[in-house]
Symmetry: C2
Subunit: 317 residues, 2 copies
């Protein structure tokens, strides 16, 4: 009998788990959300997949060997201070990556091509053109150059944007001017559009705040800097974003993530012009792809090969 997989995810995207049964034939799939199906004895279970798993749950699994995250980010798992010191595998998948790049390219183009302005004009039946820089006139700065950031950089470059990138340790990407931790101010000073794709760690909590926005260029070819965040909501200070939009420090924003999700009804962000909001849908994990990914890594592990996409729990990503 092959070892079981325990799944503790806090939402319902996986339906009846049939896709996991198909991808992992011969293994028991334990849905922790199904109270009646919870085993009394967690011994003998080698694998666990989580999204905000119950605090302490994984620590009570005596034979656990590998933990999997439902997403590319793992902050939702590292919050559990009792998380065992075992390999933690993030979710990496071509569809997850390309969906994120779709969303980022869409948002950069929306701001470049003044889409919100033209939408308002359409409502007023107004036929009027406006001066239009092209992508090559704009510098997009991507903070976070993991798999998602690198893919977005390549696609933005191909659309014609100038692309800069920042990461804690310097990366090398073709056609992208890369900055490291010590060069943050220099990087921000040349970011007409700033794209956040950072993992949530103590260092990145609240990093997108008034003092950071103050370091963006004062003028840009589209009338001011743009901030786009598809990383984690707790990396941004929404009160500062709102002030910056109101006083013109920021020309516009696109946000897919928020300090609290769902975004509270009373947030002024909902109704600010030039704030484009989406409900954490930039890149949703595809359940079939996730099942395939988990099955593939378990297969590697049992064949004695190294696991891929391992998280460094010290840095938090």
């Amino acid at each position: 009998m092959k070892s079981s997989l325990l799944v503790d995810v806090k939402f319902d995207i996986f339906g009846n788990f049939d896709r996991f049964r198909k991808a992992l034939p011969g293994r028991q799939i334990i849905n922790w959300s199904d109270l009646e199906a919870r085993p009394n004895d967690l011994s003998g279970i080698h694998y666990a997949l989580g999204w905000k798993p119950d605090e302490g749950l994984f620590a009570t699994m005596p034979d656990l060997k590998v933990m999997f995250s439902v997403g590319a980010g793992v902050d939702h798992m590292l919050e559990d201070k009792s998380l065992p010191d075992l390999p933690l595998v993030r979710f990496v998948d071509q569809s997850l990556t390309s969906r994120m790049s779709e969303w980022i390219c869409l948002q950069c183009l929306i701001h470049l091509r003044q889409h919100s302005l033209y939408t308002r004009q359409q409502k007023d039946k107004l036929w009027r053109d406006h001066p239009q820089p092209d992508a090559g006139d704009l510098r997009v700065g991507i903070m976070g150059l993991g798999i998602l950031g690198s893919d977005a950089a390549a696609k933005l470059k191909m659309l014609g944007f100038q692309v800069n990138g920042w990461s804690r340790t310097r990366k090398t990407l073709p056609g992208v001017n890369c900055f490291d931790e010590s060069e943050l101010d220099e990087f921000l000073a040349c970011s007409d559009i700033l794209v956040g794709l950072l993992p949530l760690t103590p260092q990145t909590t609240g990093i997108f705040n008034a003092s950071l926005f103050a370091k963006l260029p004062d003028t840009t070819p589209i009338g001011g800097p743009i901030f786009i965040n598809a990383g984690r909501g707790k990396s941004q200070v929404e009160a500062d974003i709102i002030s910056a939009l109101q006083d013109g420090r920021l020309k516009g924003v696109s946000l897919d993530v928020f300090e609290d999700e769902p975004l509270p009804q009373e947030s002024p962000l909902w109704l600010i012009e030039n704030a484009v909001l989406t409900p954490h849908v930039a890149s949703v994990s595809d359940a079939d792809a996730l099942a395939t990914h988990v099955a593939g890594q378990i297969e590697r592990f049992e064949a004695g090969l190294a696991l891929e996409y391992l998280v460094d729990k010290k840095t938090g990503y």
Copy 2:
């Protein structure tokens, strides 16, 4: 004395023509719109640049050698039935091309990522996600594979879309499934998103009509076919587009061009949900780039080299 350039454009993007004087040193630039500057004698002028030039004007220039179009399309010049039988050069420029691709990628992503739906939800402060196919699930069909269509095809491909192309004579483009004149129905049947980038000719006038829309797929991963037009407005039958949007034959449209421009106030298109309209701004000729282009072709011509980007007046493009 080098030969002069006569410029007859019907709008004001060129300002004081200094950019032409800079690009063409030593030549007189005659602005036909400036009534006081019009010479009585048009002899000795070898070059003319036009946008909807006065009917018959170019025919009255006894020494005219080369005609230039302000845009990539030339229908506005071929309308003049007395246009002399001389080389006609279209405008081709990297910026013109990349701006068009920006607009087309933006519109494809808007429909793929259900941007209008999420915008409406934002207004209602509604946090709700929807099933989301990715670009790879969608087939974009581009009608017209000239310089603009080929560039858009490559960029859509890179964003992850499946890309098909149609042209009168079959083209070969990397990664693009190309169809020719005889295969139009087959091409339409696999176009979840149809992109029009056709020149205006007798054959393409009114081509985007109810009978063509009927040949698009009935169902697509985003709930129905999308029509996008950035070619020429007279290629589309707006009454048919409006009916198709109303009865659901089309799920959405993005239109930058219209049968009559500006789009008349009474057109129902302005207020149809899922109709994204822009006022013929998808790709606006950059005046500096145009001046450089015209200067470069005149230089080639006077050096005895072949002109580039020549229009075939029989096919009309």
